[in-house]
């Protein structure tokens, strides 16, 4: 470890490329925890927003007009407003209205932390898109297929769980893939409410170490890699879900 640190210190001395996140234990710790926060925000928001998409698309097919109107309203609201405004709305708007609670140190703090607000607003933002994505998948499933399930006695929920959703998911996976990539990148907006994610800690580091161009480059590389990993996982999933003789590469 020392050898590596020494080499990067030498790199700085000879070239001016100052990677404090490698040789300086404090910066390294900060950066890794930021990276961890980005991954945490992404994973949790991906899961919640996908669940919102699946449930929302199901509710859109509800016989109750009020439920359909509610889901449509939600989708329009979150698709037509900037995600940064949404985050501010939750953190500065709703967060201020909610009663404060006493934390372990006896301080009065917001009931919902900035990290939790970030997760809530990112999940709702991406979830609104996911509702539409799942719906497009559902609409592509032939009506006759769901009719066959109904004829076998499946309830509306049963049809959705066992037939519609599995088929819709396979159809809409590429679109879902895109949206989740977008969500991962949008986690940087949590910066604006001081969530210590990768961008936020990078700014702290470049403020302290005056290595803006280097940290910028690091950021680009880190996000490229994170998205690359996500795309890889999604592609594996897509392959896992593919059905012999159905969809891509098969005459339908």
């Amino acid at each position: 470890m020392d050898l590596v640190a020494d080499w990067f210190r030498h790199l700085y001395d000879t070239t001016g490329i100052n990677l404090t996140i490698v040789y300086d234990p404090y910066d390294r710790q900060r950066f890794l925890s930021g990276l961890g926060m980005t991954i945490y925000l992404s994973v949790v928001s991906i899961i919640i927003s996908t669940i919102i998409g699946a449930i929302g698309a199901w509710a859109q097919g509800s016989p109750a007009r009020a439920i359909r109107a509610f889901v449509n309203g939600f989708v329009v609201l979150f698709r037509n407003t900037p995600p940064l405004v949404q985050i501010f709305f939750f953190y500065f708007g709703l967060g201020q209205i909610l009663p404060r609670v006493e934390n372990d140190d006896g301080m009065m703090v917001q009931m919902i932390s900035n990290v939790q607000w970030a997760i809530i607003s990112l999940s709702l933002f991406a979830g609104a898109y996911n509702v539409e994505i799942f719906r497009s998948g559902i609409e592509a499933v032939p009506r006759t297929t769901t009719e066959a399930a109904e004829a076998l006695g499946y309830t509306r929920l049963g049809v959705y769980r066992h037939v519609l959703l599995p088929l819709a998911l396979r159809i809409c996976l590429p679109a879902l893939n895109n949206n989740l990539v977008n969500l991962l990148k949008t986690t940087t907006l949590a910066y604006a409410i001081a969530v210590p994610e990768t961008l936020y800690v990078s700014k702290q580091i470049w403020n302290d170490s005056q290595n803006v161009p280097v940290m910028m480059t690091v950021l680009l590389i880190v996000y490229t890699a994170l998205v690359g990993i996500l795309v890889y996982i999604m592609n594996r999933w897509e392959r896992f879900l593919s059905i012999p003789g159905y969809g891509q590469g098969a005459a339908r």
Binding site: T145, E147, A149, A151, L152, G153, Y154, P244, G245, A250
Partner: protein
Amino acid sequence: MAADPSVSQNEYGWTPDQPLIRLVDVHKAFGSLQVLRGVSLDVRKGEVICIIGPSGSGKSTLIRCINALIPVDSGTIRVEGQEVNDPDLDKLALRRKVGMVFQQYNLFPHRTALQNVMMAPVHVLKQNRKEVEVRARALMAKVRLQGKEDVYPGQLSGGQQQRVAIARSLAMRPDVMLFDEVTAALDPETVKEVLVTIRELAEEGMTCILVTHEMGFAREVADHVYFTDKGLIVEHGPPADFFANPKDERTKAFLGQVL
């Protein structure tokens, strides 16, 4: 053998000596289009009836009404005494008694052939998976598809898919099977393999309602043939009579075209 009739009576007061399915003056319109204009017919247990008629005469609509895929406007349909147009109808209870096979097979493409057969008994009837699997394998053998259990629908021929669809319906142990032009999408060679399966079912005593364009098959397996035109049953009778000397002009014209 001195059976007390109340013993075999079901919860709707139906006894097996009554028609298993009874339609009385059924009307159905889609918007302004009158598709069924007063259809009445009875199907007894173990009977095979065939419904024939020109395209658009309401044959599919008729059999879809029987398992409540389509609500009727007026008239009554009873299946084992259970009223299908009752607003509080327990659709699950109805649909476990009535199996249906479609023209386009409509298998679940994301599940293997065996899984297609097993799904509804496991999900809908909550039966034990192991027991269902034993039964499903037997059904696959019955429709002559041993060895195709783990194959996906997309990898099967039309005739094979249709036989899986029949097995899938049978797995629910229905009391009556509805077949809606189940061979219409198949090429001539594979039609036969599906018809063989249906004939075996009929011979085993399964109550069947078949919509078909296969006149030869109808003549062979049907106990009773119904001819529909423009939402009405124009003529009906045992196949020997029906095909040998049709009385109505429309029946004559239709048979003249297809035979």
